[in-house]
Amino acid sequence: MLLRVEDLHKRYGKEEVLRGVSFSLEKGETKVIIGPSGTGKSTLLRCINRLTEPDRGRVFLEDVEITSPRVNINKIRAQIGFVFQDFNLFTHLTALDNVRLGLMRVKGLSKKEATERAMRELARVGLADKAKAYPAELSGGQQQRVSIARALAMDPKLILFDEPTSALDPELIGEVLSVMVELAQSGMTMLVVTHEMGFARSVADEIIFMEKGVIVEQGPPEQLFKSPKHPRTVEFLRRITELYGGEK
């Protein structure tokens, strides 16, 4: 088991965003988390690498308890890729330098090694020719692909995707999704929060449906989409089909 999440709780003031979430992830597995906005999906991802500190509960990466105060969280974060909804590429750095920063400052690679590695990852997401471009000179889709390259370059054990296509214009979503599909097929372990049901259906090994801070239902895509058990899942799927027109 690569990742194990046990009974995570998080509260912001009066609002209880996570109310005891538990699940696990096998090596090479892709799980997709779906659910209405504001149900704690992003908070859950951020609690996993402790960008947000959970109030209660434990998270294990392989045998290491991430949530232990004794752990060097920076070492752990270097092993967990994170892809943000709004990319968060470093504004003052070129695409190449964005990918190189972690390699040089966290992994301690030489500039030469880091450059080689970074160029390989940029090529993998189809952006080798944009290495010298600053984020503001790239389209949203290209920025998100650079940010995936930035995560990949660290050789992560898994990558967390926080609604990676929500900030994109519709015509740019495809290029990002196809990079993610390739990743999943190459055996990368992925945990993806998304509203892209087509992606969820075709790539996920398992779907997790979350609402109001708890996991309502989880299962393989065919089962969850075709014959959901819980009435809340049925309701959510009905609404999302109305909104997005079903299959993409």
Binding site: L51, N74, I80, F82, N88, F90, L101, R105, V106, Y134
Partner: protein, 226 residues
């Protein structure tokens, strides 16, 4: 009325100009170093470092809330009564540095806080420590954003440094005052010095524009772009 101008004034004034540039340059550089530290403390200090935050804030408010002239006089005339005597130049450099550090701290703080929070988040997600994230991600952006207010501060200090002639430093104003007193040509000498300052300000404005353009990065500090 007859206005008189003598070429013989120029060498002295040039000496004074050199000292004005030295005082401005040194105080701005030292003030920047101190100002960045103050700003970092004011933005990032938390937990056990909270007392530092209080100290830094008190410092900034005190030095921004009181006249430079008082600070200078207290250092030059006041400290010797405690047995700490300084040369006019040292006292002046110290006063200018302490003063500009407080102002620069606020410019740096504003710049640091205008770096989007997602930048810190993304840096931490990669495994950078807080200090590394500040060093490699936040500060490089903040330093570029701070150039316009910093340019204003430079001009302000170039002008502000003129008060140090009151404790006997022979910078541009000090030299002017000596010439004026010797030759009874106050108005003319001060007009020439005013032209010196106009030229200086013009020159530095042009240079800093150039620096700003050279260090510009698309998407950073350009309003109206996401």
């Amino acid at each position: 009325m007859n206005l008189v101008f003598r070429w013989a004034w120029l060498p002295r004034l040039a000496q004074g100009l050199a000292l004005t540039l030295e005082l401005t340059g040194l105080s701005m550089a030292l003030g920047a170093a101190f100002g960045i530290v103050l700003a970092l403390v004011r933005v990032y200090a938390k937990g056990p470092l909270m007392p530092l935050y209080g100290l830094a804030s008190a410092y900034v408010h005190f030095f921004r809330g009181t006249p430079l002239l008082v600070q200078l006089m207290a250092l030059y005339y006041g400290l010797p009564t405690l047995g700490v005597a300084m040369s006019p130049f040292t006292a002046s450099l110290l006063a200018l540095t302490l003063n500009t550090a407080a102002y620069q701290a606020e410019y740096f703080r504003g710049a640091i806080q205008s770096v989007k929070s997602g930048q810190m988040l993304a840096a931490r997600a990669l495994g950078l420590t807080r200090l590394q994230a500040i060093r490699y991600v936040v500060l490089p952006q903040a330093l570029r954003l701070v150039i316009p207010p910093w340019s204003n501060e430079l001009v302000y200090m170039m002008k502000g440094s003129a008060v140090v002639y009151l404790v006997g430093v022979l910078e541009l104003m000090g030299q002017a005052k000596n010439i004026a007193a010797r030759e009874f040509r106050n108005f003319e000498v001060y007009i020439v010095v005013a032209l010196f300052y106009l030229a200086l300000v013009f020159l530095f404005t042009v240079i800093l524009r150039f620096v700003e353009n050279r260090t510009r990065i698309p998407g950073l500090g350009v309003p109206g772009r996401p």
